[in-house]
Symmetry: C2
């Protein structure tokens, strides 16, 4: 199958591109490297030393004799995107090419507007390009479980049957997203659903949970293929950040009470879910939604799991509650269905001690690259303008030489 | 009360600005005149000869001794918008400043992207400007009944109580908008709801039906204050277009079967509803939704009403079904609640014979300005690219001199 992976230089995109290539599919990566640019803007870097994409692709080819095509450009540039679609003629397009960090979208007005325009226009362009040049192609779009928010009823997969005043209909599940980023995904979902209806496009929206892990069989083939591992306050996902905090002896920073419960999944399941979606395309005109996660945890539960895993590695790990920079329920009902991908063959990698060990070992292995000043939240939802002031270079990396940082306030939860 | 009317040079905006001024409120209009620019782009003009805004405001002041302030600029320009908010210090902002025509948004990709970026960014800018400089100001936002689509259950006002698997919650009513324009309003609604939650802003979303009529007491004070009356295939709303078709002896163009049922209201109720919203502000942190229409009709019912009204004026009016350029259900269940504004004091002007007479008389009065070539649909939802080719000037106005146009196909329904 010919699969174009938009955003194939990013965290999930890179792992997906290699996984699908290894499975024998013909892969093209479309990317403009803006994800690397954001690292420069924020003064952070991935824990793992990733190579330039040209190196990555060359080494992949040397190792596997497989060539991955590359289209360098911005999906918000329609001439570029449509000509890439015309040239590659994909049977499936996997669309990761969006700004994907909630805190980034909440920095200030410019970042909010950028995130929504970038994501919405990129997806609109893709919808038009498919309509015009590849109408039978299956759009596999990365959404997020965050589109649903935390309703007080069970979350279904995209749609809900509502009985009301004696009548009944199946309607899109109501959305209560929690950041300008999550809102952009809701906007995308509505736009895609509409285009499936009017143009007969086929699309699968993968409402993905929070991804953890960095290794897949493919990215592990060679150090040059290593994947991103973000732990900073803006792009770092919670479990990755906890592992890094544990590795440098910082307390795990739990936002607020820590009852915030979300769906989570291993990166190895992300790539498999995308494959399942590609191999089982939506029908023409169908807008299908899969909830793509394998387990749900509260962020406090995760902290305690990391604490326990750390103890096995002789790390003393504290759990600290800090004021929640976000506006969200810190304790709430949460029960989200996630059976469609399992029905299609997903065998989940559940979060285990060994995975936590491996994550923590990665954090320890690259310990000297950790900038401990980049983990405390600097973006607050209630503020209209957050200045992420760059600290002086001389004090930027206390973790590499200094003592563990424990200056963080609030209550300390030693379990 | 100090009220800023964004988009105050437009159809609903102008009538609203004058109505609120007459009621004694201090009014500022914020507009960039892009609505007039779209007329030039499309080669159409309002049936009624509207004056430049500077003339309108000067004459209003001469007649009433009331000065309406004017800020000329684009709400997508944050420096302009925020400085206007700072300078005027409104207690309420009525936000009409969006691209509001579904067909315009469906012309092609550029118009779709323009509509969504223009509307979403304008509203995001307004939310940030209020947060930063006028956080207690009440945002009165024009949404549309088209956000809901045509579900097979009753439509509620913004929210619906859902019981599911033994639990219950009140959630945003599911949205199924039918054009890139309607989608932009759904995006806005989600963005505004979020900002009320995180920043404690107060907002009322007026999900307005299709507006008809052109006269209010204020716009009728002087010919120089006359309001827009759009009848073209892109910006013309259905009842206005029917009246113009009847006036020039063209068959009324019903899209498809004509069972498309929508909420409608008189322009005089639009202005009153906005006043009601302003005088009864939402609480801090509240995102309130009112369905702003007074009656629901199918487009075929409306055609028959215009036919009957025309006969009284000795006009022979035919009703013709033409292929529906849109993708929509041509027959469907529709029952939408609209009680909140009535509970707050709205006394509807229901669609009556006399109103239809007055509309038709306006069409007859300005008959020589009618361009009969601009009423047939030229924008098709199923196409990715519609060329609205400008007809040669020599043949552009057959209605002014030639016979009634009856070349339109499909079945003819003579009742």
């Amino acid at each position: 199958m010919r699969v174009a992976v938009l955003g194939g230089d990013g965290y999930c995109g890179w792992a997906t591109a290699l996984y699908l290539a290894k499975k024998g599919h013909s892969i093209a990566i479309v990317d403009n490297f803006i994800r690397r640019q954001w690292d420069h803007e924020l003064g952070v870097q991935t824990l793992t030393p990733i190579r330039p994409l040209s190196d990555r692709l060359r080494i992949w080819q040397e190792l596997t004799r497989q060539q991955i095509e590359l289209f360098v450009g911005d999906v918000t540039d329609y001439d570029f995107l449509s000509s890439s679609i015309k040239a590659f003629e994909p049977e499936a397009v996997v669309h990761f090419a969006e700004q994907r960090a909630a805190p980034y979208s909440m920095i200030d007005r410019k970042h909010a507007v950028f995130t929504q325009v970038n994501n919405v226009v990129g997806t609109l362009n893709l919808l038009y390009a498919l309509r015009e040049f590849q109408p039978d192609c299956h759009l596999v779009k990365l959404g997020t479980m965050g589109e649903y928010g935390t309703p007080n009823i069970d979350i279904e997969e995209g749609y809900i049957t509502i009985e009301h005043n004696g009548r009944k209909d199946v309607l899109p599940y109501p959305k209560q997203p929690g950041s300008f980023y999550h809102l952009s995904k809701v906007h995308d979902s509505h736009n895609i659903m509409f285009c499936c209806r009017i143009w007969g496009l086929r699309a699968t929206d993968l409402n993905q949970g929070v991804v953890y892990g960095t290794m897949t069989d493919e990215t592990g083939l060679d150090e040059a293929l290593i994947n991103r591992f973000d732990y900073d306050d803006v792009f770092g996902t919670v479990l990755n950040r906890y592992c890094v905090e544990a590795a440098v002896g910082m307390p795990l920073t739990v936002y607020g009470k820590g009852g915030q419960t979300r769906g989570f999944l291993d990166l190895r399941d992300t790539v498999r879910c995308v494959e399942i979606a590609c191999m089982n395309p939506a029908a023409r005109g169908e807008f299908r939604v899969f909830n793509q996660f394998t387990e749900q945890f509260s962020v406090l539960e995760l902290a305690h799991m990391v604490q326990t895993a750390g103890q096995k590695l002789d790390l003393e790990v504290q759990v600290e509650h800090i004021p929640d920079p976000r506006v969200e329920a810190e304790k709430h009902y949460y029960n989200a269905r996630h059976s469609k991908l399992v029905e299609l063959g997903l065998k989940p990698h559940l979060l285990s001690d060994s995975l936590l060990d491996s994550l923590m070992n990665i954090a320890l292995r690259y310990r000297e690259r950790i900038d401990a000043s980049k983990m405390m939240p600097q973006v607050y939802w209630r503020e209209a303008h957050n200045t992420r002031r760059q600290q002086a270079t001389a004090t930027a990396s206390p973790a590499a030489s200094g003592p563990p940082l424990t200056e963080v306030g609030a209550t300390t939860d030693r379990r």
